[in-house]
């Protein structure tokens, strides 16, 4: 895993435009030496310093607040989207509203940046016409961060995926014979949905957690970037090219941090599904 990150971070060094003409040049030596420098810099702490503009900053000092910001949005996004996704997914599977399914499907395929820009635009439009500011459209300074809209954006897109996923497997489960049997024995709708069908949907939710996390993370990059939030992805992407060119150390450190966050998020969601199973499985 770590080797993969180190290679990934070396890609911008390795793949370079050819000095003359329009071709490509593969600079294996450059990639190799940045990796060597990175390991050498561990002792002196050189690998944990980077340039932001022309100012040299310490990675350890800067990463704390960024880590907290990303962790905050990731946790809220993951838990809210998963809860909403499961509950609304059940609702969609049970309801007969065809238009609802169509709208969900279409918004599900729209790229996340479109949805974020649309949300920002709606807020601006309402503000320009009624002078009512519903939410901050972007953070202008670290002291006054935009909160409501980023949370909304961090929830909507993963939740949409979860809803469609749960609804699909729920409607499959509901067409099975054991549901018929439970119904014949006079069990209530709620009991059948939550205690008979849902336990058979949860394995699919578990199996698709990586995909869910992938969507959540891709979306989180967009949220941090478009709302100008001071998170890990923003730190990496905005300072990857410092005053003296590409900063391998920063990118490698940043991606490792993102991996740590991914692991935390994934573990949390596994725990979350485990909780559902504990309650529902009898």
């Amino acid at each position: 895993m770590i080797a993969f990150v180190l290679l990934l971070a070396a890609l911008p060094v390795v793949i370079q435009p050819a000095p003359r003409g329009g071709g490509l040049r593969l600079d294996w030596l450059g990639g190799w030496s940045s990796m060597r420098e990175y390991f050498r810099g561990f002792g002196s702490g050189e690998s944990f310093r980077y340039l932001s503009g022309r100012t040299e900053l310490s990675f350890w000092e800067q990463i704390g607040p960024s880590f907290k910001t990303t962790l905050f949005y990731m946790c809220i996004g993951a838990l809210t989207a998963a809860t909403l996704g499961i509950l609304l997914g059940i609702y969609v599977a049970v309801s007969r509203k065809e238009w609802l399914k169509r709208v969900l499907e279409f918004t599900g395929i729209l790229p996340d940046f479109l949805i974020i820009i649309a949300l920002q635009f709606v807020v601006v439009y309402i503000y320009l016409h009624t002078k009512v500011l519903l939410a901050e459209v972007a953070s202008t300074s670290p002291r006054e961060p935009a909160v409501a809209l980023p949370i909304l954006s961090a929830v909507i897109i993963p939740a949409n995926y979860m809803i469609r996923n749960v609804a699909l497997h729920m409607s499959h489960a509901l067409s099975d014979d054991y549901i018929h049997f439970a119904k014949a024995r006079g069990m209530g709708r709620g009991t059948i949905v939550f205690f008979h069908a849902l336990p058979n949907v949860l394995p699919y939710v578990k199996a698709n957690l990586h995909k869910f996390m992938g969507i959540l993370f891709g979306n989180l990059f967009m949220v941090e970037y478009l709302f100008n939030l001071d998170g890990v992805a923003h730190l990496v992407f905005s300072s990857a090219f410092g005053f003296e060119g590409y900063q391998y150390d920063l990118t490698a450190n940043g991606i490792v941090t993102l991996l740590v966050l991914y692991a935390i998020g994934y573990a949390m969601l596994r725990l979350f599904v485990y909780g559902w199973e504990k309650v529902l499985l009898r």
């Binding site: 990934l8 435009p17 920002q120 635009f121 990586h210 967009m222 991606i255």
Partner: protein, 309 residues
Amino acid sequence: MNKTLLAGLAITIVLIAASLLGPYFAPHDLSEQVKIEYVVGEDGKGTLLVPPVPPSAEYPFGTDNNGYDLMAKMLAGSRYTIFLSLAVAFCRVGIGGALGLLLGASSGERRARTRSRPASVGNLLNGIPMLIIVWMILIGVSINPSASPLAMSLLLAAVLTLVGIPPLVFTTREKTLVEMEKPFVLSARSLGASRWRIIWTHLVPHMKESFAIAFVQEIVLVTGLFGSLAIFHIFVGGTTMNFDPVEYLSRSNEWGGLIAQARDHLYTRQWLLLIPLAGYVLYILGVHLISVGLERMYRERFRKVSHLG
């Protein structure tokens, strides 16, 4: 053909036609530029004309900050957006589908014992956002490149094709394994049909519908990636970066690029953001409707029917 499919096809065909024929009918071309000038109207009143010009009869989509016609830019960019997404989707499904078929057919013969392992690898692959991998590969070469926009677009297309193949291989392999278990394949095999014959005359005809749907869905995914990459300064066709002030401009006017470079126009000159956004959403909507319509058509065609009546 159902209404959804027709609507989707209509939207997509209109967009393709506009992209191919539009430049011949458009009022302005890419080289025309509105300069700052003082215009005296018929009533003797003078107005100062400063780009950007808002949408008007003369400039239906308005002009950009430098005075270039937005409609001409969108027509030029549509070729990249539409045809490149079609090409990448086609290559992804062609190569990924073929590999998946081969793998599925050969491991299906050996009574797939290892089915769970590759599935979980594919599962983990899903967790890595494509965006970050493509960004890492391309950021070193995309800013102020010396190669032509077309060459840069082809490079991006090749990278997007490569990263898109593995997921398709996994899903096609899974589907093929299911087909391999079916009675007609078993009977063909027991009659001594070769692997190629099974693939060509039994598996491909059975799976061509799912390939068609996968192709359409890949178009949507690729178009989405064009836009997402553009937000992070990688434009289809390469990025022109100016340092004073720092700004990133698209060289090809691809629609995702037009949106990304007008991202700050939420408050003023909103047409610069809204018009490319509308075009982009319309294209995605058209393709999406085709995919939904195809799914419905195939479901109708292959559903079980009553044997009486």
